[in-house]
């Protein structure tokens, strides 16, 4: 059963130079305990999508439309109070910036305790004890000392571990990790990913993982959604997507399929570079969003936007020329 069902999500920002359609009609779902990876170049709307799910988009200038059904309820219809009860409790999030995502003037312990006290009604002592357990769980040595420390006394990797501890403190049903390792050193990246892989099996939460690291995708995710210019252009189970990517954009990103286990051995593959630029999201786009950079683009592509079509088992792509079942060029 789907834990999360996102239907036609549209998150737009009003800017002085026009409306930025950062996310424009994206639909997807995540099953209980499942890991969905979202990949795509910078600026294609991955963070905005994930923050929309938790309604963390500043409104204004942002506006979120569509529907986000989580455990049967449409999050966009909830009151602020109902939404607060979900944030950090049923759905929690790890951000891309470990150095700046923790509050510099509050102790690590306090920052973990807080969610436990808000959502589980624990008193300070119990919350503190639980915070120490969480620090142990995420592999922080000397947790009893660390709870009393401030973020500036911790390294980047340690801080991201603390963020993970905060996110998992209340046993969320859904964990959103937005490029959790991008800002870290390569060796630390591998450690954090190993931790996440480990926790995925232990905690059993569904995960939405945004990453540039295809090795990680191959290892952790069951399904992959590929985003481009605020839209979903392809989605498929991991093995299927790596074996037969249908959308020219996905093919460009993959460049070559990574070997399994590569991220833990430090030979992780990042997304390949694709020549050309992402279209301006403030201008209406007619035809295929990728046409400006696509080697296969034709007049048809430039005039009519391709819809998402079934291209294989649980595999959809939005391209006029990605024929069903055909092996892509």
């Amino acid at each position: 059963m789907a834990l999360l069902e996102v239907e036609n999500l549209q998150t737009h920002f009003r800017t002085p130079s026009g409306v930025n359609r950062a996310v424009d009609g994206v639909s997807f779902h995540v099953n209980e305990g499942e890991t969905l990876a979202i990949v795509g170049e910078s600026g294609c709307g991955k963070s905005v999508t994930s923050m929309s799910l938790m309604r963390l988009i500043p409104e204004p200038p942002g506006r979120i439309a569509g529907s986000i059904r989580f455990a049967g309820r449409d999050l966009l219809q909830l009151s602020d109070r109902e939404m607060r009860a979900i944030r950090g409790n049923d759905i929690s999030m790890i951000f891309q910036e470990p150095m700046t995502s923790l509050n510099p003037v509050l102790t690590v312990g306090r920052q973990i305790r807080e969610t436990l006290m808000i959502h589980q009604g624990l008193d300070k002592q119990k919350a503190e004890a639980h915070a120490i357990e969480m620090l142990t769980l995420v592999g922080i040595p000397e947790p009893k000392r660390r709870v009393r420390e401030y973020p500036h006394q911790l390294s980047g990797g340690m801080r991201q571990r603390v963020m993970i501890a905060i996110a998992l403190a209340c046993n969320p049903k859904l964990l959103i990790a937005d490029e959790p390792t991008t800002a870290l050193d390569v060796t630390i990246q591998a450690q954090i990913l190993k931790l996440m892989l480990d926790l995925k099996h232990r905690v059993g939460a569904a995960i939405i993982l945004i990453t540039h690291d295809l090795g990680v995708v191959a290892e952790i995710a069951e399904r992959v959604m590929v985003m481009y210019a605020g839209r979903k252009v392809e989605e498929a189970p991991v093995a299927e997507l790596f074996r037969s990517p249908r959308h020219p954009y996905t093919q460009g990103l993959l460049g070559a399929v990574p070997r399994l286990g590569s991220s833990l051995t430090g030979t992780a593959r990042r997304l390949a570079e694709i020549p050309g630029q992402v279209p301006d999201l403030r201008k209406p786009i007619t035809g295929c969003v990728f046409a400006g950079r696509c080697a296969l683009a034709t007049d048809l592509c430039r005039q009519y936007a391709p819809g998402l079509e079934e291209k294989g088992p649980r595999h959809v792509a939005a391209c006029h020329y990605a024929a069903k079942g055909a092996i892509a060029a």
């Binding site: 938790m54 963390l56 607060r84 009860a85 979900i86 944030r87 950090g88 409790n89 929690s92 999030m93 951000f95 910036e97 700046t100 995502s101 923790l102 509050n103 510099p104 003037v105 509050l106 807080e114 969610t115 808000i118 959502h119 401030y150 500036h152 963020m163 905060i166």
Partner: protein
């Protein structure tokens, strides 16, 4: 922490010494021969010479300064030329009202200005923000005596809610004491509130952009917790600074406010002393205010270390 405070106190000694030198020089910087000035218009040359002798004004400057400092260190601020009373006793008599006025104004400012600034930053660009900032500009540009007379007219004379003027010591009850201070505190606090509200807004605007504020929201914290704990504590350093600097503003404003509301405080004493050229009194008051200011600075530095763990001591 204790050793930090001690070190800071030691560090203020040179500042105090310079202040003392300046205060002492007041008499010499002022135009005219101090002895003539003190003796007054009707004095004969013999009178002037007698005053010169008795005050030791004929001794070298540094010797005079040295003995002056020595006496101050022993708690002797000298004797008023006009009343012949010890300066420390005169100041002691007037300290209560002024201290009361400043503390009430300070508390009023913190209680009013900080929440206003926080709300203005939270609702930045909205009508509420513009109304609050409009008031801040207004409050900033109104002279203390104008606000004071307006308040006294409306709330004391017309509505008769509060006394027009005067002062009641705290020993005679909390409300009688506070009642007399409300209007003066508002009048005196106007500029200060405007200043602190603006700085609070600016500091909060920057903090609210930070990633950790988003994290706090993602954890399910309410707006109050986000604004007043997670954000405000980070914005505290500039706010504390301006509150501290504002105390200097209060000292100046208190003089005017005390005149408007007939409060028998240091402000009145200062004016009287200046009009009578009662130099020992002027020196005592200036020295006291400087001391308060140095003390406030020390307190600010201590508060910094309390609100921001990254500031080392």
């Amino acid at each position: 922490m204790l050793s930090y405070i001690l070190r800071r106190i030691v560090a203020t000694l040179p500042v105090m010494a310079i202040v003392a030198l300046f205060v002492f020089s007041l008499l010499y910087i002022a135009p005219g021969d101090p002895a003539v000035v003190i003796a007054g218009d009707q004095a004969s040359p013999e009178d002037v010479e007698r005053i010169r002798q008795s005050l030791g004004l004929n001794r070298p400057f540094l010797v005079q300064f040295g003995s002056w400092v020595w006496r101050i260190l022993h708690g002797d601020l000298g004797t008023s030329i006009f009343t012949n009373l010890p300066v420390s006793a005169m100041i002691g008599q007037r300290l209560g009202p002024t201290l009361s006025l400043m503390i009430v104004t300070l508390l009023l400012t913190i209680v009013v200005a900080v929440p206003l600034g926080v709300v203005a930053a939270w609702k930045a660009g909205s009508l509420i923000d513009r109304v609050i900032m409009g008031f801040a500009v207004f409050g900033f540009s109104l002279p203390v005596f104008v606000v004071g007379y307006m308040l006294a007219y409306v709330f004391a004379l017309e509505l008769e809610w509060l006394p027009v003027q005067g002062y009641t010591p705290l020993a005679q009850g909390f409300w009688p004491w506070l009642e007399n201070l409300i209007l003066p505190a508002i009048a005196l606090g106007c500029v200060y509130i405007a200043l602190v509200a603006r700085i609070t807004r600016a500091a909060m605007l920057e903090v609210l952009q930070q990633d950790y504020v988003r994290t706090a929201k993602a954890k399910g914290l309410g707006q109050g917790g986000i604004l007043f704990i997670h954000a405000l504590k980070n914005a505290a350093v500039p706010i504390v600074t301006v509150i501290g600097i504002g105390i200097a503003l209060l000292i100046g404003g208190a003089v005017v406010t005390e005149s408007v509301f007939a409060i028998p405080g240091l402000g009145r004493l200062t004016i009287d002393a200046i009009l009578r050229r009662d130099y020992p009194v002027i020196q005592g008051i200036v020295l006291l205010f400087s001391f308060v200011y140095v003390l406030v600075n020390l307190m600010i530095d201590v508060v910094y270390t309390l609100v921001d763990p990254r500031i080392r001591y």
